[in-house]
């Protein structure tokens, strides 16, 4: 390619392009490196002051979003997104719009939340009716891919918030990536509460993997194959092949962008089942087969296989 010719041709473009490039001046400014370091530090100090060291440590370690509970749910989401600028792996965050999605709220409330997830989190239908919201955010993100596998570009993210009945403050309890949970046909996403152990495990794992991977991948869906189950007293042990489908981001192979990819793991799940056949959530443990060939050896907790930034 003759760059001289290209440069000369570029020089002949219409004046409107040149004029716009001259007059363009960003209205916003980005967080300076100093501020980027200060933000999480300030958030950490505030959290420590407010809720105590042990609890704060737990929150800071588990929380992908540095959030500031507020009576304004939109502001909670907006500040959580803007606080992403404080993450070391974040290069740029530009929030385009944040708004309460009433339709999505109603659908998720009806089709997803009522069921095993709500049960596990102790959310009654009455509580959900008055204290649950879905907020949709559209933003542009860029991440340092040497530090994170998060997808960048234009992102639509659904945030799931609950409200403290006493203080009125809203808090983000989950987020979806680009997955629209209310339109997901999987049992985890809205079917009536799972009945069989397999269905309950599917719902449990779907939720777990959504939480783990939705910040990184779009179009998440799952499948269980080769399911086998044994019972010993009230303890159920199940082995199966767990497959996660997701949309490629084209990081390594450009042609993969938007194309569905899949990854499979052999898993062993153990849990106590109550007299109604319902899994007791606190008793669930899931191990992954660490061997690629030969008889499976289930020894690795699946949480250990999740992306590093989950511990951020």
């Amino acid at each position: 390619m003759n760059t001289k010719t290209f440069s000369e041709a570029l020089g002949e473009i219409d004046g409107k392009y040149i004029e716009s490039a001259i007059s363009y001046q960003a209205e916003r400014s980005y967080f300076s490196p100093t501020r980027r370091w200060l933000l999480p530090l300030a958030a950490a100090i505030m959290t420590l002051l407010l809720v105590g060291t042990a609890a704060a440590a737990a929150i800071m370690l588990r929380d992908l979003w540095i959030q500031k509970p507020s009576v304004d749910p939109v502001e909670v989401v907006r500040s959580a997104l803007e606080n992403q600028a404080g993450k070391e792996y974040t290069l740029n965050i530009e929030v385009n719009s944040v708004e309460i999605d009433e339709a999505e709220t109603a659908q998720v409330r009806e089709r997803f939340i009522k069921g095993i997830i709500a049960d596990r989190r102790g959310w009654s239908d009455e509580y959900l009716a008055g204290h649950f919201l879905v907020v949709r955010a559209d933003y542009y993100a860029e991440y340092d891919h040497t530090q994170t596998t998060r997808a960048d570009g234009e992102v639509t993210m659904y945030f799931y918030l609950t409200q403290d009945a006493d203080s009125g403050d809203w808090t983000i309890v989950d987020n979806s990536g680009n997955v629209n949970w209310s339109e997901d046909d999987s049992p985890a996403a809205g079917a009536p509460a799972a009945q069989t152990v397999e269905e309950q495990l599917f719902a449990y794992l779907s939720d777990l993997y959504n939480r783990a991977y939705s910040p990184y991948y779009d179009g998440l869906r799952y499948q269980i194959d080769d399911y086998e189950e044994t019972t010993d007293g009230d303890t159920v042990t199940a082995t199966f092949l767990w497959t996660m489908y997701y949309l490629g981001k084209g990081w390594d192979v450009g042609a993969d962008e938007g194309v569905e990819q899949q990854v499979s793991q052999s898993l062993q799940a153990k849990a106590v089942v109550d007299e109604n056949g319902a899994i007791v959530p606190e008793t669930i443990s899931v191990l992954a087969d660490e061997r690629a060939v030969g008889d499976p050896v289930y020894s690795t907790s699946i949480e250990e296989t999740f992306p590093d930034q989950l511990g951020d």
């Binding site: 390619m1 003759n2 760059t3 001289k4 010719t5 290209f6 440069s7 000369e8 041709a9 570029l10 020089g11 002949e12 473009i13 219409d14 004046g15 409107k16 392009y17 040149i18 004029e19 716009s20 490039a21 001259i22 363009y24 001046q25 960003a26 209205e27 916003r28 400014s29 980005y30 290069l91 740029n92 860029e142 340092d144 450009g254």
Partner: protein
């Protein structure tokens, strides 16, 4: 500071005040642009003066609108002429670096190379396909030869992010031109 129309009127009246007003209003912009290409203040000064002479000869009959973009075009063209005339010199200008960035991202000649006008139209089509911020970044880098730091300051995007964006935009450019079989 007088408006562009009044400056053009001065050119039409053949008043030398036109050049003084032009320099007062756009001189800094012109010098920066030329300096980015040539990396030599004396050469940049010479090019801007040559550009002013060219504009004096062109107006009238030309009545450019917008004037600022027109002036920049002339300055850029004059500066590039000098840049290429003295091609053996190592300038280490931003323009040098920007050109090298473009080397790998543009489709290699396959059959018939695109005519200049055809290539310009293709570039405009590509610019139209970009969202505004990326279009500005691309133009500031490859039209104005701005440094990453200057682009960062203008767009409010961190320097590192500007660099990454440009990598992606160049890939998009290559894909865009290849799909349209535009070779140079």
């Amino acid at each position: 500071m007088i408006d562009d129309k009044s400056i053009i009127d001065l050119f039409f009246a053949r008043s030398e005040k036109a050049l003084a007003e032009l320099d007062g209003k756009y001189g800094k912009l012109c010098h920066t642009l030329s300096l980015n290409i040539l990396n030599n203040r004396q050469d940049a000064e010479e090019c801007v003066n040559d550009a002013y002479l060219g504009i004096w000869n062109a107006i009238p009959p030309a009545r450019p609108d917008p004037l600022r973009a027109y002036v920049c075009k002339v300055v850029r063209n004059v500066s590039l002429k000098l840049y290429h005339r003295r091609g053996a010199e190592k300038r280490n200008s931003v323009y040098d670096v920007a050109l090298r960035e473009l080397e790998d991202c543009l489709p290699a000649p396959d059959t018939v190379e695109a005519e200049g006008r055809e290539l310009t139209r293709a570039i405009e089509g590509f610019l139209d396909s970009l969202r505004e911020e990326n279009r500005i970044i691309f133009l500031r880098r490859y039209w104005f030869s701005d440094s990453y730091a200057e682009i960062a300051a203008r767009t409010g995007i961190p320097e590192k992010s500007v660099s990454m964006r440009l990598v992606r935009i160049r890939k998009q450019l290559k894909r865009y031109l290849t799909e349209r079989e535009v070779y140079v």
